[in-house]
Protein backbone atom coordinates (compact mmCIF):
# COMPACT_ATOMS: atom_id res chain seq x y z
CA UNK A 1 0.00 0.00 0.00
CA UNK A 2 2.97 2.26 0.38
CA UNK A 3 1.46 3.98 3.42
CA UNK A 4 2.29 3.54 7.09
CA UNK A 5 0.11 1.02 8.95
CA UNK A 6 -2.53 2.70 11.12
CA UNK A 7 -2.54 -0.26 13.52
CA UNK A 8 0.65 -2.11 14.44
CA UNK A 9 0.83 -5.11 16.78
CA UNK A 10 4.21 -6.66 17.56
CA UNK A 11 4.68 -9.83 19.58
CA UNK A 12 1.66 -9.07 21.75
CA UNK A 13 1.12 -11.32 24.75
CA UNK A 14 -1.80 -11.35 27.14
CA UNK A 15 -2.49 -13.56 30.14
CA UNK A 16 -5.67 -13.95 32.15
CA UNK A 17 -4.38 -15.66 35.24
CA UNK A 18 -3.16 -18.98 33.93
CA UNK A 19 -4.77 -18.56 30.53
CA UNK A 20 -2.28 -17.40 27.91
CA UNK A 21 -4.84 -15.72 25.66
CA UNK A 22 -2.48 -14.02 23.18
CA UNK A 23 0.84 -15.69 22.37
CA UNK A 24 2.81 -13.30 20.26
CA UNK A 25 0.44 -11.62 17.84
CA UNK A 26 1.81 -9.57 14.94
CA UNK A 27 -0.54 -7.58 12.76
CA UNK A 28 -0.39 -4.54 10.49
CA UNK A 29 -3.53 -2.81 9.31
CA UNK A 30 -3.23 -0.09 6.68
CA UNK A 31 -5.54 2.90 6.32
CA UNK A 32 -8.67 1.99 4.42
CA UNK A 33 -8.12 -1.72 4.83
CA UNK A 34 -10.82 -4.14 5.90
CA UNK A 35 -9.40 -7.04 7.89
CA UNK A 36 -11.70 -9.90 8.87
CA UNK A 37 -10.57 -12.03 11.80
CA UNK A 38 -11.81 -15.61 12.06
CA UNK A 39 -10.95 -18.50 14.34
CA UNK A 40 -12.37 -20.97 16.83
CA UNK A 41 -13.94 -19.93 20.13
CA UNK A 42 -11.36 -18.98 22.72
CA UNK A 43 -8.63 -18.36 20.16
CA UNK A 44 -8.16 -14.77 21.34
CA UNK A 45 -10.03 -12.78 18.67
CA UNK A 46 -11.94 -10.61 21.12
CA UNK A 47 -8.90 -10.18 23.30
CA UNK A 48 -6.81 -8.95 20.37
CA UNK A 49 -9.52 -6.47 19.37
CA UNK A 50 -9.87 -5.20 22.93
CA UNK A 51 -6.12 -4.69 23.21
CA UNK A 52 -6.21 -2.36 20.21
CA UNK A 53 -8.24 0.22 22.16
CA UNK A 54 -6.67 -0.78 25.48
CA UNK A 55 -9.85 -2.17 27.01
CA UNK A 56 -7.30 -4.85 27.94
CA UNK A 57 -3.71 -4.00 28.84
CA UNK A 58 -1.01 -6.23 27.39
CA UNK A 59 1.72 -8.11 29.28
CA UNK A 60 4.36 -7.97 26.60
CA UNK A 61 4.82 -6.56 23.12
CA UNK A 62 4.00 -3.32 21.35
CA UNK A 63 0.83 -1.76 19.98
CA UNK A 64 0.66 1.45 17.99
CA UNK A 65 -2.52 3.12 16.75
CA UNK A 66 -2.44 6.04 14.35
CA UNK A 67 1.21 6.68 15.17
CA UNK A 68 0.69 6.63 18.95
CA UNK A 69 2.28 3.82 21.00
CA UNK A 70 -0.53 2.75 23.35
CA UNK A 71 1.71 2.24 26.36
CA UNK A 72 2.92 5.83 26.05
CA UNK A 73 -0.44 7.41 25.25
CA UNK A 74 -0.77 10.33 27.64
CA UNK A 75 -4.50 10.45 27.16
CA UNK A 76 -5.97 7.08 26.27
CA UNK A 77 -9.40 8.69 25.95
CA UNK A 78 -8.16 10.72 23.00
CA UNK A 79 -6.90 7.58 21.28
CA UNK A 80 -10.12 5.72 22.00
CA UNK A 81 -12.22 8.50 20.55
CA UNK A 82 -10.55 7.76 17.21
CA UNK A 83 -11.43 4.05 17.44
CA UNK A 84 -15.07 3.08 17.19
CA UNK A 85 -16.03 -0.24 18.73
CA UNK A 86 -19.11 -2.32 18.08
CA UNK A 87 -19.91 -5.14 20.50
CA UNK A 88 -21.64 -8.47 20.08
CA UNK A 89 -24.32 -7.51 22.61
CA UNK A 90 -24.66 -3.90 21.33
CA UNK A 91 -24.13 -2.37 24.78
CA UNK A 92 -26.44 0.54 24.06
CA UNK A 93 -27.18 2.80 27.01
CA UNK A 94 -30.67 1.61 28.03
CA UNK A 95 -31.62 4.82 29.85
CA UNK A 96 -31.16 6.95 26.74
CA UNK A 97 -33.11 7.09 23.49
CA UNK A 98 -31.44 6.07 20.23
CA UNK A 99 -30.82 9.74 19.48
CA UNK A 100 -29.36 10.39 22.92
CA UNK A 101 -27.17 7.30 22.63
CA UNK A 102 -25.63 8.75 19.48
CA UNK A 103 -25.38 12.24 20.99
CA UNK A 104 -23.86 11.51 24.41
CA UNK A 105 -20.18 11.02 23.58
CA UNK A 106 -20.32 13.79 20.99
CA UNK A 107 -21.38 16.16 23.75
CA UNK A 108 -19.17 14.82 26.52
CA UNK A 109 -16.02 13.85 24.63
CA UNK A 110 -16.07 15.96 21.48
CA UNK A 111 -17.70 18.89 23.31
CA UNK A 112 -20.07 19.56 20.43
CA UNK A 113 -23.04 21.86 20.90
CA UNK A 114 -26.45 20.20 21.42
CA UNK A 115 -27.59 21.38 17.99
CA UNK A 116 -24.52 20.07 16.24
CA UNK A 117 -24.61 16.74 18.09
CA UNK A 118 -28.30 16.26 17.34
CA UNK A 119 -27.92 17.10 13.67
CA UNK A 120 -25.06 14.64 13.37
CA UNK A 121 -26.97 11.97 15.30
CA UNK A 122 -30.03 12.32 13.06
CA UNK A 123 -27.87 12.18 9.96
CA UNK A 124 -26.20 8.97 11.18
CA UNK A 125 -29.47 7.33 12.21
CA UNK A 126 -30.72 8.06 8.70
CA UNK A 127 -27.55 6.59 7.27
CA UNK A 128 -28.00 3.31 9.15
CA UNK A 129 -31.61 3.27 7.98
CA UNK A 130 -33.62 4.01 11.14
CA UNK A 131 -34.26 7.76 11.27
CA UNK A 132 -37.78 7.07 12.58
CA UNK A 133 -36.43 5.34 15.70
CA UNK A 134 -34.64 8.41 17.06
CA UNK A 135 -36.89 8.66 20.09
CA UNK A 136 -37.14 4.95 20.87
CA UNK A 137 -35.36 3.41 23.82
CA UNK A 138 -33.05 0.43 23.17
CA UNK A 139 -35.53 -2.00 24.77
CA UNK A 140 -38.10 -0.90 22.19
CA UNK A 141 -35.84 -1.79 19.26
CA UNK A 142 -35.10 -5.11 17.56
CA UNK A 143 -31.59 -6.54 17.84
CA UNK A 144 -30.72 -5.45 14.32
CA UNK A 145 -31.95 -1.93 14.99
CA UNK A 146 -30.01 -1.79 18.25
CA UNK A 147 -26.82 -2.85 16.53
CA UNK A 148 -27.31 -0.18 13.86
CA UNK A 149 -27.75 2.45 16.57
CA UNK A 150 -24.54 1.16 18.14
CA UNK A 151 -22.73 1.59 14.82
CA UNK A 152 -24.13 5.11 14.48
CA UNK A 153 -23.01 5.85 18.03
CA UNK A 154 -19.45 4.82 17.20
CA UNK A 155 -19.44 6.68 13.88
CA UNK A 156 -20.59 9.89 15.56
CA UNK A 157 -17.10 10.30 16.97
CA UNK A 158 -15.70 10.46 13.39
CA UNK A 159 -13.35 7.55 14.14
CA UNK A 160 -10.43 6.67 11.93
CA UNK A 161 -10.81 2.98 12.74
CA UNK A 162 -13.81 0.77 13.45
CA UNK A 163 -13.53 -2.45 15.43
CA UNK A 164 -16.37 -5.00 15.26
CA UNK A 165 -16.56 -7.97 17.65
CA UNK A 166 -19.01 -10.49 16.20
CA UNK A 167 -21.55 -7.76 15.48
CA UNK A 168 -24.16 -10.13 14.04
CA UNK A 169 -23.75 -13.27 16.11
CA UNK A 170 -26.40 -12.27 18.65
CA UNK A 171 -28.93 -11.46 15.92
CA UNK A 172 -31.79 -13.45 14.44
CA UNK A 173 -30.96 -14.52 10.87
CA UNK A 174 -33.42 -12.08 9.28
CA UNK A 175 -31.68 -9.13 10.95
CA UNK A 176 -28.12 -10.03 10.06
CA UNK A 177 -28.33 -8.61 6.56
CA UNK A 178 -29.46 -5.14 7.64
CA UNK A 179 -26.39 -4.83 9.86
CA UNK A 180 -23.99 -6.30 7.30
CA UNK A 181 -25.32 -3.88 4.66
CA UNK A 182 -24.40 -0.95 6.88
CA UNK A 183 -20.95 -2.42 7.39
CA UNK A 184 -20.51 -3.03 3.65
CA UNK A 185 -21.34 0.62 2.95
CA UNK A 186 -18.76 1.66 5.51
CA UNK A 187 -16.14 -0.57 3.91
CA UNK A 188 -16.88 0.87 0.46
CA UNK A 189 -16.48 4.40 1.80
CA UNK A 190 -12.94 3.51 2.79
CA UNK A 191 -13.25 3.07 6.54
CA UNK A 192 -10.42 1.14 8.17
CA UNK A 193 -12.10 -1.86 9.77
CA UNK A 194 -11.07 -4.86 11.85
CA UNK A 195 -14.01 -7.24 11.97
CA UNK A 196 -14.25 -10.42 14.02
CA UNK A 197 -16.96 -12.31 12.20
CA UNK A 198 -17.74 -15.65 10.67
CA UNK A 199 -20.06 -14.12 8.07
CA UNK A 200 -18.21 -15.41 5.04
CA UNK A 201 -20.47 -13.51 2.65
CA UNK A 202 -19.30 -10.28 4.21
CA UNK A 203 -15.69 -11.44 4.17
CA UNK A 204 -15.87 -12.26 0.46
CA UNK A 205 -17.52 -8.98 -0.40
CA UNK A 206 -15.56 -6.58 1.77
CA UNK A 207 -12.38 -8.06 3.18
CA UNK A 208 -8.99 -7.06 1.83
CA UNK A 209 -7.44 -9.63 4.09
CA UNK A 210 -8.56 -12.50 6.26
CA UNK A 211 -6.68 -13.38 9.41
CA UNK A 212 -7.09 -16.80 10.96
CA UNK A 213 -6.38 -17.06 14.68
CA UNK A 214 -5.87 -20.18 16.73
CA UNK A 215 -4.69 -20.62 20.32
CA UNK A 216 -3.65 -17.01 20.73
CA UNK A 217 -1.73 -16.70 17.50
CA UNK A 218 -2.31 -15.58 13.95
CA UNK A 219 -1.90 -18.81 12.04
CA UNK A 220 -2.65 -17.65 8.54
CA UNK A 221 -3.17 -14.37 6.70
CA UNK A 222 -4.60 -14.44 3.21
CA UNK A 223 -6.95 -12.83 0.76
CA UNK A 224 -10.54 -14.08 0.71
CA UNK A 225 -10.01 -15.77 -2.69
CA UNK A 226 -7.01 -17.71 -1.46
CA UNK A 227 -8.64 -18.69 1.80
CA UNK A 228 -11.67 -20.26 0.20
CA UNK A 229 -9.86 -21.89 -2.69
CA UNK A 230 -6.58 -22.90 -1.11
CA UNK A 231 -6.19 -22.52 2.64
CA UNK A 232 -2.58 -23.30 3.49
CA UNK A 233 -2.66 -24.26 7.13
CA UNK A 234 -4.30 -27.55 8.11
CA UNK A 235 -6.03 -25.93 11.11
CA UNK A 236 -7.49 -23.30 8.80
CA UNK A 237 -8.78 -26.04 6.53
CA UNK A 238 -10.34 -27.85 9.43
CA UNK A 239 -11.96 -24.69 10.79
CA UNK A 240 -13.31 -23.66 7.39
CA UNK A 241 -14.81 -27.06 6.76
CA UNK A 242 -16.73 -26.62 10.03
CA UNK A 243 -18.14 -23.17 9.47
CA UNK A 244 -18.86 -23.64 5.77
CA UNK A 245 -20.65 -26.95 6.53
Amino acid sequence: MGKQPIIILRDVHKHFGHVHALRGVDLDVYPGEVVVVIGPSGSGKSTMLRCINRLETIDQGYIEVDGIPLDQAKNINKVRAEIGMVFQLFNLFPHLTALENVMLAQRVVRKRSPEEAEAKARELLARVGIPEKANSYPAQLSGGQQQRVAIARALAMDPKIMLFDEPTSALDPEMIKEVLDVMLDLAREGMTMVVVSHEMGFAKAAADRIVFMDEGQIVEETTPEELFTAPKHPRTQEFLSKILH
Binding site: R80, G84, F93, P94, V108, V109, A139, A154, M157
Partner: protein, 284 residues
Protein backbone atom coordinates in the same frame (compact mmCIF):
# COMPACT_ATOMS: atom_id res chain seq x y z
CA UNK B 1 -48.41 -0.66 35.58
CA UNK B 2 -46.54 -2.79 33.07
CA UNK B 3 -44.55 -4.36 35.87
CA UNK B 4 -47.62 -5.56 37.69
CA UNK B 5 -49.44 -6.72 34.59
CA UNK B 6 -46.36 -8.61 33.59
CA UNK B 7 -46.01 -10.44 36.87
CA UNK B 8 -49.63 -11.41 37.47
CA UNK B 9 -51.53 -13.39 34.87
CA UNK B 10 -54.77 -11.79 33.74
CA UNK B 11 -57.60 -13.25 35.74
CA UNK B 12 -60.73 -14.72 34.19
CA UNK B 13 -62.94 -12.49 36.32
CA UNK B 14 -62.20 -9.52 34.11
CA UNK B 15 -61.66 -5.84 34.77
CA UNK B 16 -63.37 -5.64 38.17
CA UNK B 17 -61.30 -8.43 39.69
CA UNK B 18 -58.16 -6.92 38.19
CA UNK B 19 -59.02 -3.55 39.64
CA UNK B 20 -59.70 -5.07 43.06
CA UNK B 21 -56.34 -6.81 42.99
CA UNK B 22 -54.63 -3.52 42.10
CA UNK B 23 -55.94 -1.77 45.22
CA UNK B 24 -53.31 -1.68 47.97
CA UNK B 25 -55.57 -3.23 50.59
CA UNK B 26 -53.18 -2.72 53.46
CA UNK B 27 -53.47 1.04 52.96
CA UNK B 28 -57.25 0.82 52.95
CA UNK B 29 -57.28 -1.21 56.17
CA UNK B 30 -54.95 1.22 57.92
CA UNK B 31 -57.04 4.19 56.82
CA UNK B 32 -60.23 2.50 58.06
CA UNK B 33 -58.64 1.71 61.44
CA UNK B 34 -57.34 5.25 61.82
CA UNK B 35 -60.73 6.67 60.92
CA UNK B 36 -62.47 4.46 63.51
CA UNK B 37 -59.88 5.45 66.12
CA UNK B 38 -60.17 9.17 65.39
CA UNK B 39 -63.96 8.84 65.38
CA UNK B 40 -63.88 7.38 68.88
CA UNK B 41 -61.67 10.20 70.13
CA UNK B 42 -63.93 12.84 68.69
CA UNK B 43 -66.99 11.24 70.34
CA UNK B 44 -65.77 11.92 73.88
CA UNK B 45 -65.03 15.47 74.95
CA UNK B 46 -62.49 14.37 77.56
CA UNK B 47 -60.56 12.27 75.05
CA UNK B 48 -60.80 15.08 72.54
CA UNK B 49 -59.14 17.46 74.94
CA UNK B 50 -56.34 15.05 75.87
CA UNK B 51 -55.40 14.25 72.30
CA UNK B 52 -55.68 17.90 71.37
CA UNK B 53 -53.21 18.70 74.11
CA UNK B 54 -50.86 15.91 73.00
CA UNK B 55 -51.07 17.26 69.46
CA UNK B 56 -50.09 20.69 70.74
CA UNK B 57 -47.03 19.19 72.44
CA UNK B 58 -45.79 17.51 69.30
CA UNK B 59 -46.30 20.60 67.14
CA UNK B 60 -45.22 23.21 69.68
CA UNK B 61 -42.99 26.21 69.14
CA UNK B 62 -39.45 26.08 70.54
CA UNK B 63 -39.19 26.63 74.28
CA UNK B 64 -39.90 30.20 75.36
CA UNK B 65 -41.59 31.21 72.11
CA UNK B 66 -45.31 31.97 72.01
CA UNK B 67 -45.59 31.96 68.22
CA UNK B 68 -43.30 30.83 65.44
CA UNK B 69 -43.21 29.87 61.77
CA UNK B 70 -44.44 26.40 60.83
CA UNK B 71 -40.89 25.64 59.75
CA UNK B 72 -39.50 26.44 63.21
CA UNK B 73 -41.88 24.24 65.15
CA UNK B 74 -40.50 21.29 67.10
CA UNK B 75 -41.90 17.77 67.43
CA UNK B 76 -43.22 16.56 64.07
CA UNK B 77 -41.53 19.35 62.14
CA UNK B 78 -38.17 18.74 63.79
CA UNK B 79 -38.43 15.04 63.01
CA UNK B 80 -39.14 15.82 59.37
CA UNK B 81 -36.32 18.35 59.14
CA UNK B 82 -33.78 16.02 60.76
CA UNK B 83 -34.83 13.23 58.41
CA UNK B 84 -34.70 15.28 55.21
CA UNK B 85 -31.41 17.03 56.01
CA UNK B 86 -29.88 13.90 57.51
CA UNK B 87 -30.89 11.80 54.53
CA UNK B 88 -29.59 14.34 52.04
CA UNK B 89 -26.21 14.27 53.78
CA UNK B 90 -26.32 10.48 54.02
CA UNK B 91 -26.93 10.31 50.25
CA UNK B 92 -23.81 12.38 49.62
CA UNK B 93 -21.78 10.22 52.01
CA UNK B 94 -23.27 7.06 50.52
CA UNK B 95 -22.55 8.12 46.94
CA UNK B 96 -18.94 8.97 47.74
CA UNK B 97 -18.55 5.83 49.86
CA UNK B 98 -20.08 3.67 47.13
CA UNK B 99 -17.88 5.17 44.40
CA UNK B 100 -14.84 4.59 46.59
CA UNK B 101 -15.91 1.00 47.23
CA UNK B 102 -15.93 0.20 43.51
CA UNK B 103 -12.75 2.15 42.75
CA UNK B 104 -9.53 0.38 41.92
CA UNK B 105 -7.54 2.82 44.04
CA UNK B 106 -6.49 0.87 47.15
CA UNK B 107 -6.46 3.97 49.37
CA UNK B 108 -10.00 5.13 48.66
CA UNK B 109 -11.17 1.52 48.73
CA UNK B 110 -9.62 1.01 52.17
CA UNK B 111 -11.06 4.24 53.56
CA UNK B 112 -14.58 3.46 52.43
CA UNK B 113 -14.42 -0.16 53.55
CA UNK B 114 -13.20 0.92 56.96
CA UNK B 115 -16.04 3.44 57.23
CA UNK B 116 -18.69 0.94 56.18
CA UNK B 117 -17.52 -1.88 58.42
CA UNK B 118 -16.93 0.27 61.49
CA UNK B 119 -20.23 2.11 61.31
CA UNK B 120 -22.24 -1.01 60.56
CA UNK B 121 -20.81 -2.64 63.66
CA UNK B 122 -21.95 0.11 66.03
CA UNK B 123 -25.58 0.76 66.97
CA UNK B 124 -26.95 3.98 65.50
CA UNK B 125 -27.94 5.05 68.99
CA UNK B 126 -24.30 4.91 70.08
CA UNK B 127 -23.18 6.85 67.01
CA UNK B 128 -25.70 9.56 67.77
CA UNK B 129 -24.47 9.77 71.36
CA UNK B 130 -20.91 10.09 70.07
CA UNK B 131 -21.98 12.89 67.76
CA UNK B 132 -23.77 14.70 70.56
CA UNK B 133 -21.59 14.07 73.59
CA UNK B 134 -18.10 13.33 72.26
CA UNK B 135 -17.49 14.94 68.86
CA UNK B 136 -19.46 18.13 69.46
CA UNK B 137 -17.77 19.11 72.77
CA UNK B 138 -14.36 18.11 71.39
CA UNK B 139 -14.87 20.31 68.31
CA UNK B 140 -15.99 23.18 70.47
CA UNK B 141 -12.90 22.90 72.62
CA UNK B 142 -10.53 22.46 69.73
CA UNK B 143 -11.87 25.50 67.86
CA UNK B 144 -12.29 27.84 70.78
CA UNK B 145 -16.12 27.61 70.63
CA UNK B 146 -16.01 28.65 66.96
CA UNK B 147 -17.49 25.40 65.68
CA UNK B 148 -20.57 24.64 67.71
CA UNK B 149 -22.64 21.71 66.52
CA UNK B 150 -24.84 21.44 69.59
CA UNK B 151 -28.45 20.56 68.97
CA UNK B 152 -29.78 20.02 65.48
CA UNK B 153 -26.44 19.91 63.58
CA UNK B 154 -24.94 17.20 65.79
CA UNK B 155 -28.14 15.13 65.59
CA UNK B 156 -28.25 15.38 61.81
CA UNK B 157 -24.55 14.54 61.49
CA UNK B 158 -24.98 11.46 63.67
CA UNK B 159 -27.91 10.23 61.59
CA UNK B 160 -26.13 10.97 58.30
CA UNK B 161 -22.86 9.35 59.34
CA UNK B 162 -24.66 6.21 60.47
CA UNK B 163 -26.93 5.92 57.43
CA UNK B 164 -24.18 6.90 55.00
CA UNK B 165 -22.50 3.53 55.59
CA UNK B 166 -25.64 1.62 54.64
CA UNK B 167 -26.27 3.83 51.63
CA UNK B 168 -22.64 3.32 50.52
CA UNK B 169 -23.39 -0.39 50.31
CA UNK B 170 -26.62 0.33 48.44
CA UNK B 171 -24.76 2.49 45.91
CA UNK B 172 -22.00 -0.10 45.56
CA UNK B 173 -24.49 -2.87 44.87
CA UNK B 174 -26.33 -0.65 42.38
CA UNK B 175 -23.17 0.25 40.48
CA UNK B 176 -22.04 -3.37 40.42
CA UNK B 177 -25.40 -4.49 39.09
CA UNK B 178 -24.83 -2.60 35.83
CA UNK B 179 -23.35 -4.94 33.19
CA UNK B 180 -19.63 -4.50 32.53
CA UNK B 181 -20.37 -3.83 28.86
CA UNK B 182 -21.86 -0.44 29.76
CA UNK B 183 -18.61 0.87 31.19
CA UNK B 184 -16.69 -0.62 28.27
CA UNK B 185 -18.97 0.94 25.69
CA UNK B 186 -18.64 4.32 27.37
CA UNK B 187 -14.86 4.06 27.66
CA UNK B 188 -14.50 2.85 24.08
CA UNK B 189 -16.18 6.07 22.96
CA UNK B 190 -13.43 8.03 24.69
CA UNK B 191 -15.26 8.94 27.89
CA UNK B 192 -13.13 9.16 31.03
CA UNK B 193 -13.99 6.97 34.02
CA UNK B 194 -15.75 9.84 35.87
CA UNK B 195 -17.68 10.78 32.73
CA UNK B 196 -18.76 7.18 32.20
CA UNK B 197 -19.86 6.96 35.83
CA UNK B 198 -21.79 10.19 35.69
CA UNK B 199 -23.55 9.81 32.35
CA UNK B 200 -23.84 6.05 31.89
CA UNK B 201 -23.46 4.01 35.08
CA UNK B 202 -25.01 6.15 37.82
CA UNK B 203 -28.21 7.09 35.94
CA UNK B 204 -28.89 3.36 35.52
CA UNK B 205 -27.74 2.42 39.01
CA UNK B 206 -30.05 5.02 40.58
CA UNK B 207 -33.05 3.38 38.97
CA UNK B 208 -31.98 0.01 40.32
CA UNK B 209 -31.47 1.26 43.87
CA UNK B 210 -34.53 3.48 44.07
CA UNK B 211 -36.48 0.91 46.15
CA UNK B 212 -33.74 0.43 48.79
CA UNK B 213 -33.11 4.18 48.83
CA UNK B 214 -36.80 4.73 49.52
CA UNK B 215 -36.85 2.08 52.22
CA UNK B 216 -33.83 3.64 53.88
CA UNK B 217 -35.50 7.04 53.83
CA UNK B 218 -38.53 5.62 55.59
CA UNK B 219 -36.32 3.71 58.04
CA UNK B 220 -34.44 6.91 58.79
CA UNK B 221 -37.66 8.74 59.54
CA UNK B 222 -38.32 6.17 62.25
CA UNK B 223 -34.70 5.99 63.46
CA UNK B 224 -34.61 9.77 63.75
CA UNK B 225 -36.49 9.17 67.01
CA UNK B 226 -33.09 8.19 68.42
CA UNK B 227 -31.98 11.83 68.40
CA UNK B 228 -34.27 12.37 71.38
CA UNK B 229 -31.53 10.79 73.51
CA UNK B 230 -29.31 13.80 72.92
CA UNK B 231 -32.21 16.00 74.02
CA UNK B 232 -33.58 17.09 70.67
CA UNK B 233 -37.26 17.98 70.95
CA UNK B 234 -38.41 15.73 68.11
CA UNK B 235 -41.74 13.95 67.85
CA UNK B 236 -40.84 11.23 70.35
CA UNK B 237 -39.25 13.64 72.83
CA UNK B 238 -42.30 15.91 72.78
CA UNK B 239 -44.56 12.91 73.24
CA UNK B 240 -42.56 11.89 76.28
CA UNK B 241 -42.81 15.41 77.63
CA UNK B 242 -46.61 15.23 77.28
CA UNK B 243 -46.66 11.88 79.10
CA UNK B 244 -44.50 13.14 81.96
CA UNK B 245 -46.68 16.24 82.37
CA UNK B 246 -50.06 14.51 82.15
CA UNK B 247 -49.25 10.89 83.17
CA UNK B 248 -51.22 9.84 80.12
CA UNK B 249 -48.90 7.32 78.48
CA UNK B 250 -51.66 5.66 76.41
CA UNK B 251 -52.79 8.85 74.71
CA UNK B 252 -49.27 10.23 74.45
CA UNK B 253 -47.72 7.26 72.69
CA UNK B 254 -50.83 6.71 70.59
CA UNK B 255 -50.33 10.19 69.22
CA UNK B 256 -46.63 9.62 68.61
CA UNK B 257 -47.12 6.23 66.94
CA UNK B 258 -50.00 7.43 64.79
CA UNK B 259 -48.06 10.41 63.52
CA UNK B 260 -45.01 8.28 62.65
CA UNK B 261 -47.28 5.83 60.88
CA UNK B 262 -49.00 8.59 58.94
CA UNK B 263 -45.69 10.06 57.81
CA UNK B 264 -44.18 6.72 56.76
CA UNK B 265 -47.38 5.82 54.90
CA UNK B 266 -47.34 9.02 52.91
CA UNK B 267 -43.64 8.54 52.21
CA UNK B 268 -44.02 5.00 50.97
CA UNK B 269 -46.78 6.07 48.61
CA UNK B 270 -44.54 8.85 47.27
CA UNK B 271 -41.65 6.41 46.88
CA UNK B 272 -43.86 4.04 44.86
CA UNK B 273 -44.97 6.85 42.60
CA UNK B 274 -41.36 7.88 41.95
CA UNK B 275 -40.39 4.28 41.21
CA UNK B 276 -43.15 3.96 38.63
CA UNK B 277 -42.31 7.27 37.04
CA UNK B 278 -38.64 6.47 36.66
CA UNK B 279 -39.13 3.00 35.13
CA UNK B 280 -37.64 2.75 31.66
CA UNK B 281 -40.09 2.41 28.78
CA UNK B 282 -40.20 -0.87 26.95
CA UNK B 283 -38.97 -3.01 29.83
CA UNK B 284 -40.81 -5.48 31.97
Amino acid sequence: MTVREGTRPKSVGGALVDWLAEVPWWVVIIIVLITLFVGRILASSQERELYWKALQFVTACPQGQETCAVWDRIGVMLTLKATVVGYALALVLGLIGGLFRVSKNPVTYAISTLYVEVVRGIPLLVIIMYAGYVITPALRDATNQQVDLRGFPSAVLGLAFGYGAYLAEVFRAGIESIPKGQMEAARSLGMSYPQAMRYVILPQAIRVILPPLGNNFIAMLKDSSLISVIALPDLLQQGRLFVSRTFRAFEGYNTVALLYLLMTLILSIIVRLIERKSALPGRL
